[in-house]
Subunit: 294 residues, 2 copies
């Protein structure tokens, strides 16, 4: 059993940390919210006062926080990981952030003798609680092999995509497809409804052919049944598409439909929909058309 | 065995007509290309000199031609179906055309005492040859029941969606989703490639989660392996998206990503790609990015 650090005990991080703890690992934990640290302490974790302290005590430091600037602050901010970490340690960032920034962070850590894996997850809160997350990993095969036993305590579908940043790249690609498949189903079902056909029958017919997708099956049904409680919140998918579009701009890449999908999410936010499920993107199109799917 | 008319003996129509003929039906056939009529005659069909003649001889008239103006010409043009058809007959339009125009055609035929079903197909040339087409039907349940035995000679997944035009609406919805899922996979794989990750590994990882789709599986592989021989030609998908966008404009509906996908197809046409498989849409994004998926 290992000595692990865990920084970020939010909706995702808390159940993930608990799985590591229950497996018998020693867990040094930190979060900006003291209550979150206290909760884990009660379960046997060792409370720390900063990311620096966590990194000083554990040779493997797992991070799962909100977005790129948060990871940067945890790693290189005041009382951050970089101030406490020893050469030979491994930082495992499981946040979903910019692949470009991730490569920079890995380079900075490398210069300090510290290894890094990026390992963003998909599967949401339910996947975190049930330890069924998909984990997309970037980094060296050696470091991947060292951390894999801990990934297996938190997830099921664990894939090494490539070098540093490639896990984040894969996650961004995933979020692009998910957003655009939602948008596709929304346009198609709204077209059907506006033309007077029954969207439920159209969805069923489409599931038999090339148009079939997980999104048609799951999110298509949500659009028809109007079940927009999250699920995956629009505000989080906006963050992921921002990583896509910001990275694309830096790389010189045009993502026209990702940009349009982000605009629809922005419109949802303008109407107070940031905390609805991402399938509610259809409402932005519905408002434009003055017509609803169901 | 029935007396059937069949108008349109192209890549799709020819094998479909052959299935009806082989099952023992009497088949009156017409096509603007005399050789196509001669081919069917050799197999036992009865050659006619016009759509009018077909409609005068058969109580059920099946049509499968290119686009909305072609169907209109077959039905209401000179020597068209309307000039020869008897009240009580059923017109079955298996072309993929505008749902709005289809409703108008059904109304005009109804006024002549003629019933109509719209029954566009998906599955392409291979599906037509193997009698495994998906058939999306609009019209009355009574007429659907009458024609179903003949549909079953040509297809497998045969669904009555709703009233006149709803079959075409379903087909348009299908083509919207297929085009936009192709576009989604193209943006995601190009993002991955440009960011330096292996698109093949990203595709495999994505197939395990919410991003999975038939298009990711089939067309995603084509983008990576650069196998762009059709398959389904860009020029035909352009026609279908034109039906989507034209109908949307008439109905007062905004389909932003369908419009963008059509622009990418238009760009492919500008570069001589009209007869490539629709998965080659990725090339339009690749040109914009000055980078390729593989």
């Amino acid at each position: 059993m290992a000595e692990l650090g865990f920084i970020g005990l939010g909706i995702m991080g808390k159940p993930m940390a608990e799985h590591l703890l229950k497996a018998g690992n020693t867990l040094y934990v930190y979060d900006v919210v003291p209550q979150s640290v206290a909760d884990l302490k009660q379960q046997g974790a060792i409370a720390c006062a900063s990311s620096k302290e966590v990194a000083g005590k554990a040779g493997i430091v797992i991070i799962i926080v909100q977005d790129t600037p948060n990871v940067e602050a945890v790693l290189f901010g005041e009382n951050g990981v970089a101030e406490g970490i020893k050469p030979g340690s491994i930082v495992v960032d499981m946040s979903s952030i910019s692949p470009i920034a991730t490569k920079e962070f890995a380079k900075k850590l490398k210069a300090m003798g510290v290894e890094m894996l990026d390992a963003p997850v998909s599967g949401g809160q339910v996947g975190a609680q049930n330890a069924t997350l998909s984990i997309m990993v970037g980094g060296s095969p050696e470091n991947f092999a060292k951390i894999k036993p801990y990934f297996e305590l938190m997830g099921k579908n664990i894939v090494l995509i490539g070098g540093n940043g490639d896990g984040q790249t894969c996650k961004v690609a995933n979020q692009i497809v998910v957003a655009l498949n939602i948008e596709a189903v929304a346009e198609a079902l709204l077209f059907a409804a506006k033309a007077g056909a029954d969207p439920a029958k159209v969805r069923e017919a489409l599931m038999g052919g090339f148009a079939d997708s997980r999104i048609l099956q799951l999110h298509g049904e949500r659009m028809i049944k109007r079940t927009f409680q999250p699920g995956f919140r629009i505000r989080l998918h906006q963050k992921d598409l921002n990583n896509a579009l910001e990275s694309a701009r830096k790389m010189g890449l045009s993502l026209p439909n990702t940009a349009a999908a982000q605009e629809l999410f922005n419109s949802m936010a303008a109407h107070g929909g940031s905390d609805l499920d991402h399938s509610a993107m259809v409402q932005a199109l519905e408002r434009m058309a003055n017509h609803t799917v169901a």
